[in-house]
Symmetry: D2
Subunit: 345 residues, 4 copies
């Protein structure tokens, strides 16, 4: 940490900061510039508590130099983490992995049929929500536990591993018994008890960025999971909140190369939630692959206009076929390829 002094700080004030640093057991190193003086804090293991300095006379500002996360950092582990799903699907390597399916699981027939259709078009993971976080208490809240069994049925029929959301600590074990990947939604990104619990559940985790979360906060949320001993974490950019009502969210694609620089964890993009509009899903899926995303999360429904939730941003299976074709071309330009669905056992 760097303690920056006011421009007219007296030598006594600088000495006061030096003493406080030494009281805390650290080493103080004053830096006398022309404009102002700063005092570096050295020898600290973790982060230094800014509150110990904020009220000392002559102190203007405190600057943290070290990021607060550790195990998720590329500093900590230079090589990229590969997240391994059943059926040989690997996220974070050369393949671009597409996870597709309806917003909500609605019936056994709906989810099995959709699974077949997205698999035939090239998806390698099936997505679908049994428990649904909804802004209004009067909206459809998901079919619940029954939906998990239907997702298992769809996996048996198609061989596609299943990703589905878990919303509270009490359901983690239940969902982990059925799903191949536990999804932590954007609204739960800082539900710390939930992060700890999924960190101990023994399954890969798909962690969505909160829609007003900084990248540091996203990486610290992932750090909660790694701190429990689970490094099989896939990050997901799904749009951040902006000021223009014309677009519900802004898909922050620059987060993809930035996360790749800061962390060894893979990151995928969700162009469905990230745009909120069917007509934007295809162009933004292409853009995400071009930006270097390790995969896509896409809402697909055989008849989007009859979907029980999120129909406005859900594409049809025909549109999904186009999406796969276009993204395949882009992946090739990038020297990558779209992951292939596994053979059914």
């Amino acid at each position: 940490m760097l303690v920056v002094m006011e421009r007219g700080a007296t030598p006594e004030q600088v000495l006061g900061v030096v003493r406080r640093i030494e009281e805390l057991g650290y080493e103080a190193r004053p830096l006398v510039g022309r404009g102002r003086t700063a005092v570096a804090v050295l020898g600290n293991q973790g982060s230094v508590d800014a509150a110990r300095f904020v009220d000392l006379p002559g102190v203007r500002d405190l600057i943290h130099i070290t990021e607060p996360y550790r195990q998720v950092s590329r500093d900590w582990q230079p090589e990229s983490t590969l997240v391994r799903l059943p059926g040989g699907v690997v996220v974070g390597g050369d393949d671009v992995v597409v996870m597709a399916g309806p917003c909500s699981v609605e019936s056994e027939r709906q989810i099995v049929e959709t699974a077949r259709l997205v698999r035939d078009a090239g998806a390698t993971v099936l997505r679908g929500g049994a428990f649904k976080p909804r802004t209004s208490p009067y909206s459809f809240q998901g079919v619940g536990e029954q939906g998990l069994a239907w997702l298992v049925r769809a996996r048996e029929e198609t061989g596609l591993p299943v990703v589905t959301e878990v919303m509270d600590t009490e359901s983690v074990e239940l969902v982990a018994r059925h799903a191949d990947v536990l999804q932590v939604g954007a609204r739960s990104m800082q539900n710390f008890p939930l992060l700890k619990r999924v960190g101990r559940a023994g399954k890969p985790v798909l962690l969505k960025r909160g829609y007003a979360a900084t990248l540091t906060e996203l990486l610290l949320a992932a750090e909660y999971i790694l701190a429990e001993g689970n490094d099989q974490v896939i990050l997901c950019e799904r749009g951040v909140r902006g000021f223009d009502a014309a677009t519900r969210f802004i898909l922050d694609l620059a987060a993809i190369p930035l996360v790749h620089r800061l962390s060894h964890l893979p990151i995928v993009a969700d162009p469905s939630h990230g745009t909120g509009l069917r007509g934007q899903v295809l162009p933004m899926a292409r853009a995400a692959v071009a930006a270097g995303a390790d995969g896509l999360l896409v809402e697909v429904h055989p008849t989007p206009e009859r979907a029980l939730s999120d129909g406005v941003q859900t594409i049809s299976t025909e549109e999904f076929g186009d999406l796969m074709r276009q993204c395949r071309g882009i992946a090739e330009v990038m020297g990558r390829r779209m992951a292939e669905p596994a053979e059914v056992a």
Copy 2:
């Protein structure tokens, strides 16, 4: 809902929309303007699913006219809700209620001493966190269950009712056995399973606005609690995320008169989290009372520079005394008064 047509929409396209509305069992009312045509949907009980219209040829936009919340609305209940706490404290009436205390409960001695000091300065409710949501897994996570017993001890000594945060569904019953008000933090505002559970816990709820939540989303989160039969909900403005790193958050004080217009629920302000800086707490506390806040939530510690969390934004008990004096004057200008602490039983 209003289905707005493209400017060049044909009569056949307008008819297609009319038919779709009638298929869904509603009444269609075309509005032919000079610029463009729109079709109003009448006769619907709840909200109409936009997805049923978004793909019809010639449709440009869908405009919702009715807000999605009901029981929290002033339309539903014109008179203001009074939230009644033990010891005769009432939030939402003429009194401005100040809830003060440390960010974290650290020890029995610390919380009892702080409770006495804030009570002597004029606080009427004690705040303090036993379970702490922290951005980093390596930060102090709160003393946990033991802290609840210490809060009860502080209440016995001072007569101040206690507000403390509950972070997951599994802890709701435990916290409800000890606390007088259950706090749902900003990061949990859309933790819907938690909202449902606190709605059934039989205690008043302090619901903090998420730092990127719209007022509609805040009111819908409160609606989750009212839908469970509990109308004793206090809303709390605690700052929203902005683009300027100089201020961690922007305290959105205009939310206070707006919420008073839209809803019958009381709303308080948290100038400590809402600014993140000790030097801003006093001016923004004054401003919140001047804007019409029904109360304040303030972080106070006898020695802020030794606080285990949030020291940078915590004020001392001396500063808190100043805050109370200044806010008392402003409340009088507003025709209100600061609530008085109850006599110890």
Copy 3:
């Protein structure tokens, strides 16, 4: 416009609204829903002034249905506008047009050399600032008028048309005498006197989106130019302001397909300002082309670390070569091609 009544509005209040509408010479059409009543305003030519209704008893809200822009709209002109630059360069057709060059014109040698290098790598337009808007008065403010002559020299040497910024009304004629495209910067997007003046200058305009401008505001700014009789306008997405200090700006690529739907004007992307970091320029350039951008605006300098401004986000000519190669592949997948530099006359 739609005047939405309070839920408990009386028939007299609805009648009051009807009368006010009729007084203003429009037609009123009441819509009685189960939840609430609204009154549509019909027969108005332009926009209706909301202030005439906001204080009538029982009125809750006013909803505008028609967008405020006209000539820039695809409703007004369904076919895409082609912006034609000297040398046969066309923006808005099948070709993706790359405009490259240094942030600032620094010397005749620097700009002529850079022009040659970017031309050899495939750029078709030369960018470079003679007048520079700088946040601090103590930063390098550009070489001024001299720079315009050097840009002309570079055009003579390479055949590349030149785009350069104009910052105030007094300089419009001067800049228009030298440049092929007049750039209006993000900070000037709502400098309305400047927009009117460039609209009359007889040259194509590159209009950059303000970094907190909605798409409606961007299109209305363009409307100022079209209203002066000049439809040769190229829009430019250059990043909007977000809440995360890790990324200076968020490049809002979804604006590209959205603008294409709303307007007939071409839109290009600026990955240099849009990310602010050299390492993000390549991935975001690829993503912009994949999202459908009609072109790119890229800061290139032979030795970025010696650039007099914006060095942190400027790429080298080698990196620019890579960018062109990668974007060429992506354009092909999209069924487009990168524009070819014209032959030197």
Copy 4:
């Protein structure tokens, strides 16, 4: 500046940074921490160009320690600047100065009548726009030069000094001949040619914060004016852009105590533009005074529903009387008083 190295940076890489610092004529001071090494740059007069370091191997980040502004800083001048207007009005001292009037000057009669009414209610400065920046080219653009003469007439009748907006460099002299304070609007805050010109016009300047400008950017914009030799600058908080369509802007009142700490310049608040809604103007005016604002800028019209612009956020003269009464009480609690209108000469 601090050059922060990657965690695994080699001694050679650190040495490379030291050499580059010394090449630039500065002094290098390495700081070896446990987590990582940083190198401080000392001896520099102004700011160091980050681009010289960003590409050196092993460099992770560059941290600026000194703010970029100088003359506006409290470091530079500890005592508060008093801005003196004709008639003895002083902004920045003990008095809270209220500037009131219509959004637009519409006619001689309207502006003279409004001036009398706001003067009788206690305003000490008259505001009113002759040149109006409007988002749409089809909205009323102001009466122009004629309006300046009418403002002068209103000043002659009431003795109130006049503040009015200047939109481009060409009009600065004209406006300065008539007005007592030159207003630079939010959209012009970074119109640098305009800032330079008003800095030389010999009149006090009211500089409004851009609606996505950081406080550093606001202070740097003011620095442009001071750098021309004019320190008579009044800053104005007028709301920043947020993510919630329910409130057009968020009035960032914490900016007031923050600016008072960072700068010696006075700052006033504009609750009319800062909220955009008539019903919010009174509570936010009170809150601004309670937060420590040196004055208010308020839109008042005898018949707001007939105002040619901004009617939705304009209050009536009756409401303005209430505002003055309430703010007077709050100012007294703060140990300040509302400025009194001067006697007519």
